[in-house]
């Protein structure tokens, strides 16, 4: 499966997704700039991504903990998610994400 990630310079990266990995883990493993400070505990909002419109409905809904933690994201939009909470499956083959801006 593939994960299509646009970085903050607009460069598009095609990453090899792995079943059961989180999107954050795949992005971090590819050395793209993502702080992911808490390491996937849904406790920091530094793995903030925007989900492409076409994929929004196809992702499982965010749990309340993720919705709350997004209050600590900067530049949050309606299509904001935390990459550590997106668990990859074959159904998400081709998922398109954009890295959200970070704190200055």
């Amino acid at each position: 499966m593939k994960l299509i990630v646009t970085d903050r310079n607009g460069t598009v990266h095609e990453l090899k997704g792995r079943d059961d990995w989180s999107a954050m883990e795949v992005i971090r493993d590819a050395n793209l700039p993502m702080a992911a400070e808490c390491g996937g505990a849904c406790a920091c909002a530094t793995c903030h991504v925007y989900v492409a419109e076409a994929w929004l409905e196809r992702l499982p809904q965010a749990q309340q903990q993720e919705v709350d933690m997004l209050d600590f994201g900067v530049a949050v939009q309606d299509n904001s998610r935390l990459a550590c909470q997106i668990r990859l499956t074959e159904k998400l083959d081709g998922l398109e994400l954009t890295l959200a801006p970070e704190s200055l």
Binding site: A35, E37, C44, V67, D71, V76, Q77, P101
Partner: protein, 348 residues
């Protein structure tokens, strides 16, 4: 848990200064203490524990040897208990700002004016200093410290101002409630009509809105307007209204904390991608007498695990002893069998 906290601005001399009071820094106190080395800890947070207490105090950790399950706060409490016999001095809510050579040791100065002189420095700063997130809005730097603030040092700064508070956590809601009586006009701004903050604070805020004492707007910040650091208004955007401007002369964004390396970058030690390369025999940096342990260091095979930080602290202490007590012979002992170690621990 009672710990010895020194007043800001005080001066001290000790064996080792540890920058960072997370689990790695705390356990280093234990390993240094077994060798009779005294330690002072500096941390930017107002309590020990680092990421464990700041990011996940209630989340269980399962990979601490012999602790099947322990929360971030639980681990911190146990470490504080374990290092209690060594009576370390804590300098909390302070950032280690400057490092200068002092004789054959170093003097660390904090942003609160505390000065500590020691033979060795141990950097156990994890991912760096916890600092408020700064929203990536074009030109915001020009307003920071004049009309954009990330903390409330003196409430009076906001008296009679037209204030916008942005965010949905406890800081945003608490300061909304505290500052509302003081300011000319208050607007709370959040990206959704829902809050991470305590429900009680949210209810109080909604009551103030209902009484017409403040405004709550669901929108995102698009741009700042003003000149020479003086904010005149904020351009907001939401689905219903598109772009619109809210006049204001002060903005308080509260989006939680992030970790920045900070002044450690200017300490004169070699860095590699914001990490400190170390010798894995001693956990010493490129500068003799300055060590780096825990998440902030790097070496072949490094794993950012709490247990790695514990191991690194033990080896660091051996080398620190050689610097601090050059005339003494380092004696390797076990706590199970050494009566002198047991005396230090207060169990013999």
């Amino acid at each position: 848990m009672s710990i010895t906290v020194a007043p800001p601005g005080s001066e001290h001399t000790t064996d080792v200064v540890i920058i960072g009071a997370g689990p790695t820094g705390l356990f280093a106190v234990f390993e240094l203490g077994l060798l009779d080395l005294k330690a002072h800890l500096i941390d930017i947070l107002d309590r020990p524990g680092g990421q464990c207490t700041e990011l996940y105090p209630e989340k269980p950790i399962y990979d601490i040897p012999a602790l099947v399950e322990v929360t971030g706060q639980g681990l911190t409490d146990r470490l504080l208990d374990q290092i209690k016999p060594f009576n370390a001095t804590y300098h909390l809510g302070q950032m280690a700002e400057r490092l200068e050579k002092a004789g054959n040791g170093w003097t660390v100065t904090t942003d609160a004016g505390t000065r500590i002189t020691a033979r060795c420095i141990v950097i156990a700063a994890g991912g760096g200093s916890f600092t408020p997130k700064r929203p990536p809005i074009a030109g915001i730097e020009a307003y920071e410290g004049k009309s954009v603030f990330y903390a409330v040092r003196k409430m009076d700064t906001f008296r009679d101002r037209t204030l916008v508070i942005a965010g949905g956590g406890d800081s945003a809601l608490d300061w909304t409630l505290n500052l509302q009586p003081l300011v000319r006009k208050l607007t709370l701004l959040h990206h959704r009509d829902g809050f991470r903050a305590a429900p009680d604070s949210v209810n109080k805020m909604r009551a103030l809105v209902a009484e017409g004492k403040m405004e709550f707007i669901v929108a995102n910040i698009k741009a700042l307007q003003g000149a020479d650091g003086a904010l005149g208004g904020i351009v907001l955007n939401n689905k219903e209204r598109g772009d619109f401007t809210v006049p204001c002369d002060a903005l308080l964004p509260f989006f939680g904390l992030t970790m920045k390396l900070g002044p450690v970058a200017n300490f004169g030690i070699n860095l590699h991608e914001n990490l400190i390369p170390v010798d894995t025999g001693t956990f010493e940096s490129s500068v003799p007498g300055i060590f780096a342990i825990g998440d902030i260091n790097t070496y072949p095979g490094k794993l950012k695990l709490i247990l790695s930080g514990f191991h690194e602290g033990a080896l660091m202490a051996q080398q620190a002893f050689r610097y601090c007590r050059p005339e003494e012979k380092l004696r390797f002992q076990y706590t199970t069998s050494s009566s002198s170690l047991q005396k230090k621990l207060g169990v013999a």
